[in-house]
Symmetry: C2
Subunit: 264 residues, 2 copies
Amino acid sequence: MTISLSGTALAAAIRAGITGTPARLAIVTATTDEATAWYVRSISAAAAKVGISCEVVETKDVAGTLSELGNDIHGIILATPVPGEVPAAEFAMGIPPTKDVDGANPVSLGRLAAGLPAFAPATAEAVVRLLEHHHIEIAGRRAMIVGRSTVVGKPLAHLLLNRHATVTVAHSRTPDLAAVTREADILIAAAGRAGLIGPDHVRPGAVVIDVGTNPTADGGLVGDVDPAVADRAGALSPVPGGVGPVTTALLLSHTVDAARTAAH
Amino acid sequence: MTISLSGTALAAAIRAGITGTPARLAIVTATTDEATAWYVRSISAAAAKVGISCEVVETKDVAGTLSELGNDIHGIILATPVPGEVPAAEFAMGIPPTKDVDGANPVSLGRLAAGLPAFAPATAEAVVRLLEHHHIEIAGRRAMIVGRSTVVGKPLAHLLLNRHATVTVAHSRTPDLAAVTREADILIAAAGRAGLIGPDHVRPGAVVIDVGTNPTADGGLVGDVDPAVADRAGALSPVPGGVGPVTTALLLSHTVDAARTAAH
């Protein structure tokens, strides 16, 4: 019987800790694609529920907009993708680290890697928080991340290393991925490809965390992990209802942390 | 017959590319320990040979000294350790990224991880350059780093990921280290413990890069790799004469790059 690593109770607990502090969040978006619009709406709705004011700023001039956000804004999220040639991380250099609630500024990632205080990218932190919430031991275990993105795979590697896991990052250029991922005690699928991780990729009894959020033709959401993995894994996080709600709750929690810090 | 992955020819080639540009390097040091003093002298001597002016600034006020370095300084190295409670990486936030020739500022590490232009820590870059110089394929191979330091292990993980290796970072808290490291096609020893990697840790034919520079009682230098590994590895970098000279050459090369950029 596979344990379902739900994130809903943890998300509720995080949200319960953040009410009562006035805070303002800005989401800067330069893209009109539907997935991004959905993401922005879902953050806005979640913010409203805990009394965080959320301003969505649509712009074609990301750098200019970031530089003009007022002092009354406590947290800033840059929605991706950012159209054009300049990488999103380059624009994110314009987010002050104290307001970088999704850890998008490379300085936040570098500080995280160096063991200095910084906001971690919310999705990466959500994975670790979900493991801890379900009392899954990290220290000394083989953790395997499939996906090397700047927003999830790479920062997650640092978070897991800081917690004493032996960490492997695999990706689309890894030969015989299944043989590699079967070494994992804790397997994290963060490649953004529906069904990439099948039963063959999983050692029986391993813990599997599914970070994927791939839209389906009928308007639903599926992860990177094939549902058949449930018969093989010792524990598996659902999509939706696993990493996702924890990520959203952490974004809001970071925003309140930023507001509290700014008030001192 | 094990191939010796010498760094001396590569170091000479790098140095040959950097003469003729006036450049000034500052080494800021707050420590009096002998290993650091040796390191500072060796950089100074190497700089002098290629016509780079090198100023050693001894200080008890690292942050103040870093903020007061003049515009005529092109490259800045902060010698470690920095005594006291504040991590060296926090002080390194005071090195302007354009002058951060040893990639010590967390923003440099973050930019590296995000795939943005930045100076890499010279030792980490030296490992990759040594592999490339000896025509060792990186893409698609299992690379294993033993050691998770901010100055070597972590940035090296990003450099190898960017070159499409499947990367594992192991460390002192990894159980059964030998079983883990035997998976490696390319094994990089960067733990700072003499003789840590023995023949049992190495798959026959694997490439082994020794980053260790451990002082011996008689004033010599040994790596992290037991010499007996030579009978088992397909290729092994010597200590001294492997990663070390390439690291020094890269520090000087970065300084000249910084001077050229500043001139434009």
